[in-house]
């Protein structure tokens, strides 16, 4: 069974996955930095329901907290990294149809934050994306 995407249930499942995954824990053991993912409207889903944001506090190989934010009613947290993409591109990344590096280098995923830290931790970024792909997404159709 899958989780609706994007949803709080999916985000909590991702949090559990990250906290269970030994490989992520090892590779991300030096990672310090929370992250907000802002999902913008695209062709998937109801455009009126976007943008939405997901906040994750990632620290030394664990996800300490995660929550969904409605930017229309709540200020975005001042996270170390802010990622922005359309729902279509986020969906492709999390389902394995779009390489995360490719998404960044072709302007489909925009990243703000300490790029030196990001560059030094590419394995962590790729492990994080691998874990997102372990969380099954409910087929809309």
């Amino acid at each position: 069974m899958g989780y609706p995407f994007p949803s709080e249930a999916w985000l909590n499942a991702l949090k559990d996955t990250l906290n269970r995954d030994e490989r992520y824990a090892e590779i991300a053991k030096n990672w310090e930095g929370d992250m907000t993912v802002i999902i913008e409207p695209g062709e998937r889903g109801d455009p009126e329901s976007f943008p939405i944001a997901k906040y994750m506090d990632l620290w030394h190989g664990k996800c300490r907290s995660a929550r969904v934010i409605d930017p229309s009613s709540e200020d975005l947290p001042d996270a170390a990294f802010t990622l922005r993409a359309t729902i279509d591109n986020i969906y492709k990344i999390f389902t394995g149809d779009l390489d995360p590096m490719q998404a960044m280098l072709t302007r489909r995923l925009r990243v703000e934050g300490n790029m030196a830290h990001m560059l030094r931790n590419v394995p962590t970024v790729l492990e994080f994306v691998r874990c997102t792909r372990l969380v099954e997404i409910e087929d809309e159709h």
Binding site: M101, Q102, A103, M104, L105, T106, P123
Partner: protein, 618 residues
């Protein structure tokens, strides 16, 4: 002293031929199919000297032509278009030679009303060539020859001419000595590094070229161009690759390349080296970076300025220099890499070729094939930056063991009876992108017209995700095979087009926007398909030159050590299926499997049929 004419009519490629022996100059205006078919840069250079590049031609002889070529975008206000190329028969490979360089010299050449210079002959004495607002003059350079390094030469010529704004491209001691990896350097350390173009200049007794111009760069649609460049530059500033280059220089991707096993260590023999992160672009930014430098009008600004302790501000090493003298030699001391890069620039030596050659020497020493007696007592060991610095000095002076290093890796390996140990293609040493970490680079190295080079297709960028779907360049597994061949072909064609414009290969500008810019610049009604065909035509013409020079299908490979898998690191256990990829490649290119020569139908399709018959363009 002679005058030359310039022109602002339509799209017209303006060539100035200079005979350095007699001082005679001749203007040539190229219009029509040749101008439309090659545009400029390296493609046009191949067209200009096609007839002269025959097997018997000694690249260092007076009659060997040397081309310095800009393109239709060079010097405009477009994105990352401050570049030019230098082309000739290479003294390093005796095949097609091409070096690409940024800075301010190329734009100044166009402002002087010259799109390309073709130099022939040998001056009876050392000279430098002045091109000052329509006036050509050969001035004595005896006071520079043997006395001044590449930076001093620029300063002394500017003092001599007393003309504000003069730009200078020059050779160093290595070019004077005609070392096969001698460079041409201009401006603040911008280098035409590969295939020994500095040696060709040296063979002509030409120490430098000084240029000054005040003419506007011709544009067919200046208003349209202005609007486009503003939009494109705005987008380019927000591009992640541009941001990385601006913040961390050309080694911004070092950590990524290392993770994927694309970063060579100890002459491509090992997959892991402790401390590599200490030399990354991010580490440099956090330690010794004091500023950035740009080519003409570029919003990226990838050039680095560094200061060590209270010393002078100097050029920071670029990726290839950093890796070549760094992990390739087991060195992870960033400050030492600044010194070694600076030494090579001042002597005028290509850091890729020289660091390869030194890497080979250390590897042979480690394997007991070179002894301490042969090195003059120097112990060649990985990670010893002081010994490497001594070797750089010795090489420039052709002294001691440096004399053996001064002819490049293939010569050195041959001297010790192991030619297969030199990591090179067509005699040109490998750039620092290990094909075992990214198989597309295997094909790029094996088929590049100038040898094992990364500038005829920086396919390593595609391998990490910089795709171009608009021209059919998608994402494939880094350790894939035949399925990515067409991708490589398209990327080579696109890059070859960039080398004709001349546009920086780091400028991640979508093909459609390049097309619009070029249309506004030239007045031609171009599509992206037209651009790809122009790239393919130029790539193919260079191939035809190489086949004629005997550097065809048998050279489309690389040496045995790269067919051995690495034991550790991101590329552990893998070797690219090069032979299978090559078979598909020839088919996609429309080249003969037996000779490597483009088929008649390919030549017809590209409008090159007149070049195929008797190998002449006329």
């Amino acid at each position: 002293m002679m005058r030359y004419e310039s022109s602002t009519e339509g799209y017209c490629y303006r060539v100035l031929h200079v005979d350095l022996e007699t001082g005679q100059v001749r203007d040539e205006k190229i219009k029509g199919p040749a101008a439309a078919g090659f545009l400029g840069g390296a493609g046009m250079a191949a067209h200009l000297i096609y007839d002269e590049l025959v097997p018997d031609l000694d690249p260092l002889s007076p009659e060997a032509p040397l081309v310095i070529a800009t393109g239709p975008l060079t010097g405009t206000t477009g994105p990352a278009v401050g570049r030019y190329v230098i082309c000739a028969k290479s003294p390093a490979t005796w095949a097609w030679g091409e070096a690409n360089v940024g800075g301010l010299f190329g734009p100044e050449l166009r402002a002087a009303g010259i799109d390309a210079l073709v130099l022939r002959g040998r001056s009876p004495q050392p000279v430098y060539l002045c091109l000052l607002n329509g006036v050509v003059e050969l001035r004595p350079a005896n006071q520079l020859w043997g006395h001044s390094d590449t930076y001093e030469t620029q300063d002394l010529i500017k003092e001599d001419l007393k003309k504000p704004g003069v730009k200078v491209a020059c050779i160093g001691r290595a070019g004077e000595a005609q070392l096969p990896f001698a460079i041409v350097l201009c401006d603040h350390g911008r280098v035409a590094g590969r295939t020994g173009m500095g040696a060709v200049m040296g063979s002509k007794n030409l120490k430098a070229i000084a240029v000054l111009g005040d003419q506007p760069i011709p544009l067919a649609g200046p208003e349209r161009f202005s609007l486009l460049r503003a939009r494109i530059n705005r987008e380019l500033r927000q591009d992640l690759v541009s941001e990385g280059l601006r913040d961390f220089g050309t080694s911004s991707g070092l950590d990524i390349f290392d993770y994927f096993g694309m970063l060579p260590k100890k002459y491509f023999r090992e997959g892991v080296l402790d401390g590599v992160e200490a030399i990354s672009g991010a580490s440099m930014a956090e330690t010794i970076l004091s500023g950035v430098s740009t080519c003409h009008g570029c919003v990226i600004a990838c050039g680095r300025k560094v200061r060590i302790n209270e010393g002078p501000e100097r050029k920071g090493p670029e990726y290839e220099t950093k890796i070549g003298f760094g992990p390739n030699l087991g060195i992870t001391d960033l400050k030492a890499l600044v010194e070694l890069g600076d030494l090579c620039d001042r002597y005028g030596m290509d850091t890729i070729s020289l660091s390869n050659t030194i890497g080979l020497a250390i590897a042979l020493y480690e394997d007991g094939m070179i002894s301490g007696a042969q090195t003059g007592g120097l112990q060649l060991e990985w990670g010893d930056a002081e010994v490497v610095a001594q070797l750089v000095h010795q090489t420039a002076a052709k002294a001691g063991f440096g004399e053996l290093l001064s002819q490049g890796a293939l010569w050195l390996a041959g001297h010790f009876g192991v030619p297969d140990r030199a990591l090179q293609v067509r005699g040109l040493e490998l750039a620092y992108h290990d094909p075992r970490g990214a198989s597309g680079m295997a094909l790029v190295y094996a088929t590049s017209p100038r040898g094992a080079c990364h500038n005829q297709s920086p396919y390593y960028l595609v391998e990490i995700g910089q795709t171009r779907e608009e021209i059919g360049i998608g994402m494939h597994p880094r350790q894939g095979g035949e399925e990515k061949v067409l991708n490589v072909v398209r990327h080579q064609d696109w890059t070859t087009l960039q080398n004709s414009l001349v546009m920086c290969i780091f400028a991640n500008v979508p093909a459609g926007e390049v097309c619009e810019l070029l249309t506004a610049a030239t007045g031609y009604d171009l599509t992206t398909a037209d651009l790809m065909r122009i790239g393919e035509r130029s790539f193919t013409l260079k191939r035809m030159i190489n086949v004629r020079l005997g550097r065809g299908v048998d050279d489309d490979t690389y040496p045995e050590p790269l067919f051995e898998p690495l034991a550790e690191g991101g590329a552990a256990g893998y070797v690219p299926p090069l032979e299978n990829m090559l078979r598909v490649y020839y088919k996609k290119r429309g080249w003969s499997l037996e000779t490597g020569m483009p088929d008649e139908s390919t030549l017809q399709h590209l409008g090159l049929a007149s070049y195929s018959h008797n190998h002449s363009k006329s």
